[in-house]
Amino acid sequence: MTILLLALRRLAASVPTLLVILAGLFLLLQLAPGDTVDALMAQMGGGDPATADELRRYYGLDLPAAAQLARYLGRLVQLDLGQSAIYGKPVATVIAERLPVTLLLMGASLSLAFLGGIVLGVLAARRIGQWPDTLISTFGLMFYATPSFWFGLMGIVLFAIHLGWLPAGGFEEVGAGYAGLTRILDIARHLVLPTLTLALVFLATYLRIMRASMLEVMSLDYVRTARAKGLGETGVIVHHALRNALLPMVTLVGLQAGTMLGGSVVVESVFALPGLGRLAYESVVQRDLNTLLGIVFVSALLVITVNFVVDLIYGRLDPRIAAGR
């Protein structure tokens, strides 16, 4: 009950932010030349201005920008994201079709980056100054410094084209008619490269944070207390250092949820994945205002949710937070 109340409060607190983002995006797109109808006409191979005017009236694009925005927000209050002119379907449906792919990609990448970051960070901190630390830190820096699209492209060249181990793109084998476990395995195979591509940059960040955090925690008094009790090194790390060192990591995950969503636009484009990021890109190109606003709205909700979950986890990890609330 308290959790629900907290969630509602958080949501209410983010309403102004959400409004500013939506209004800003709306106005920004007004500045760009051309609109949905131009894109539609281009798809149809051109047409006379009378048809275009008719279409504009049909989609409500003849109204002044402020009126359009007001109408959009009015519908949003009723949780109606409107119609997509390009896809000819409700925006909610279009997004619902693409969302699972992005969620899967994000979830897998986040887990990989988080777990990998913890393991490598702890390893590096344990062997500070020795070769495992040097190796891990060097690779971390490389991953961090390289743009993810380049990783994706090189991954395709090496693993899909030269070695032929993994598919070069797509979400699953179209038309293969797989079902059940075979389908799951097929999707997993398709997602290996995108997940790695998206995760590596974040993994590099996490491992650096984890290494620093671990080094700090290992020098604290209670770690010495634990050693004075006769606890071995592994016990000290598992029972005392790890959970304390995780606190800054968890904060970072919440902060980076939005960045990761942004990164998925690039990765989905490189690997031709039918996800939210690619949908956003296509919507911009096609001036599909309703879809774009819908995506922004859903992404914002997603980031808010992730941050809320992170806060809850943080409260669970650190009893001092719950006391302060």
């Binding site: 209670y222 207390t225 004075a228 009790k229 006769g230 606890l231 650190d318 009893p319 006391a323």
Partner: protein
């Protein structure tokens, strides 16, 4: 005497680049069963390194390079790590200084006590719980059942230290190492913890290696005393002999620097008041947000009325949380008091606006507790001192000339004005802080625990300096302290604070001789080694 721990000719090497090559040089000591050996020394004497060498918990790069640490006849220096782990917690228990940080903040107290059992025994969870409960009862934890489930932040400093002691005693170790276990605690709590350690030691016949910097604590608890200086053993012997008939000049100097728990001769009896507080209150509100009922309200200072006669020192004495620092901050208007008046001469400081206060800022100046944190590390010492007058419109050249003069006045070499704060020792930094305050030519100096972070010999120098400056410059001083020995040394009058209110105020001699409030009596009783007066034969405590 059966030897339990015997340290023979031990030397511990520091990593290259440290201020000396060895933390310890040729130290030989022994702890027998059923005795408390106090190792006393100032910071940097190597006493903590000694404790950590026995436990083999030295930081990387610091290791013994000569001598032996014999525990029940076995040399711990060469014992394999796995064997050492078996000894830690089981045969040798250890208590640390800082109860705030020595417990893992994310795990319950009971769980952390239970861990000792889980590491060394095969007891079942229920048996462990019972033992942990019994231990908490033994260390006199109020409500042991609740304490088992409490997180460290939910316990007070004294309670945390009780948990630490329970943890160290869990498996009835033969040797207990206590590294400044009461230094971070309030004086009344310290008294109770010392009594507890003494009592459990006697009941179990443990040997205790007790590290401290405080001769009062030594007088309270030690059977034998070892004095250390710069990694060497200076003197060792029975407590009575070392405390009352010290042989080594260093020991004598240290003991001479301990302020006796005696009031000083009064001065400036009938001078008119320069600073008068009337009904000063300060309340902190925390949390609650839009719902006022949920805010936590702390009455940090309630209805305090005091007066400071011109040219004298008024001590404000109290434990942590008594509101003494909040009061000091209200007087210099770092905080705005909620009610009451603070009269300096004929100006009510409490009624001034922030802007008007800046004009008056020179009249009341403050010296802060922590000489390490209260000086901007990126500014040169001379600039730090000259900054205040320059803000008041004095030219840079005049301000620096004045700073040079003040450096001489507080006993610093004026040539050191171009150095950065980290190049000075703690005592020297406190002198810079003093010069910074004096540069404003204040009428009243508010000193908030100015000596509590300093070693005892440095403390004595700074106190003497404060005293002589007061007389030479005609200052009036408000001296905040938790230490009654220090208060007795420097204050003409004292006011005792508890929970934000003044419970007793009067001339120091009268308060010490015949304390009226029960709390004042408790404070005086809790001063460690109160029966021991440096330089006089030891009177054993009843």
């Amino acid at each position: 005497m059966s030897g339990l721990l015997s340290i023979e000719n031990l030397s511990v090497r520091l990593p290259p680049g440290a201020d000396r090559s060895h933390a310890l040089t040729g130290v030989s000591l022994a702890v027998a069963k059923n005795e408390i050996l106090c190792v006393v020394g100032e910071s940097g004497s190597g006493k903590s390194v000694l404790a950590n060498t026995v436990m083999r918990l030295l930081p990387p790069g610091v290791r013994p390079d000569a001598g032996a640490v014999l525990f029940r006849g076995r040399d711990l220096v060469g014992v394999p790590e796995a064997e050492m782990r078996r000894l830690r917690g089981r045969e040798i228990g250890m208590i640390f200084q800082e109860p705030m940080t020595a417990l893992n903040p994310l795990r319950r107290a009971g769980d952390q006590i239970a861990e000792t059992f889980r590491i060394h025994t095969t007891l079942r969870a229920r048996e462990i719980r019972e033992k942990a409960l019994a231990l908490l009862a033994e260390v006199r934890m109020p409500d042991p059942v609740a304490a088992l489930r409490a997180y460290p932040h939910e316990l007070s400093g004294g309670q945390r230290q009780r948990v630490m002691i329970a943890m160290a005693l869990a498996l009835e170790p033969a040797l207990l190492i206590a590294d400044e276990p009461t230094t971070a605690l309030d004086v009344t709590t310290q008294g109770r913890i010392l009594a507890l350690i003494r009592e459990i030691q006697a009941r179990r016949g443990m040997g205790v290696l007790f590290i401290t910097h405080d001769f009062g604590v030594v007088a309270e608890i030690a059977d034998r005393v070892a004095v250390m200086q710069s990694g060497r053993l200076v003197e060792e012997g029975p407590a009575d002999a070392v405390l009352n008939r010290p042989r080594a000049p260093y020991t004598r100097a240290l003991i001479a620097a301990v302020p006796p728990l005696l009031p000083r001769a009064r001065s400036g009896t009938a001078a008119p008041a320069i600073l008068t507080l009337e009904g000063v209150s300060k309340t902190y509100r925390k949390g609650g947000g839009l719902i006022p009922g949920r805010a936590r309200v702390t009455h940090a200072v309630r209805q305090v009325s005091l007066s400071l006669p011109r040219g004298t020192t008024l001590g404000i004495v109290g434990e942590s949380g008594s509101g003494k620092s909040t009061l000091a901050r209200c007087i210099v208007r770092l905080l705005d008091p909620d009610t009451g008046s603070i009269r300096l001469g004929d100006t009510d400081l409490a009624a001034l606006s922030r802007r008007a206060m800046r004009g008056q800022a020179g009249r009341v100046q403050m010296v802060f507790q922590d000489p390490f944190a209260s000086l901007n590390p990126r500014r040169r010492a001379g600039e730090l001192v000259a900054q205040g007058p320059m803000l008041q419109g004095v030219s840079r050249r005049d301000a620096l000339a004045k700073a040079r003069e003040l450096f001489g006045l507080v006993g610093l070499d004026p040539a050191a004005m171009d150095r950065l704060p980290h190049e000075f020792s703690g005592g020297q930094r406190q002198r810079i802080g003093l010069a910074r305050a004096l540069a404003m030519e204040p009428e009243v100096l508010v000193a908030d625990e100015p000596v509590s972070a300093l070693d005892v010999s440095v403390q004595a120098q700074v106190l003497a300096l404060l005293d002589s400056l007061r007389d030479r410059l005609g200052l009036s001083m408000l001296f905040i302290t938790h230490d009654l020995r220090v208060a007795g040394q420097i204050c003409d009058r004292i006011a005792v604070m508890k929970d934000g209110a003044v419970v007793e105020a009067g001339p120091t001699a009268e308060v010490f001789a015949a304390p009226q409030a029960a709390y004042t009596r408790a404070l005086l009783d809790a001063v460690p080694g109160r029966a021991w007066i440096p330089g006089r034969p030891h009177v054993p405590a009843a």
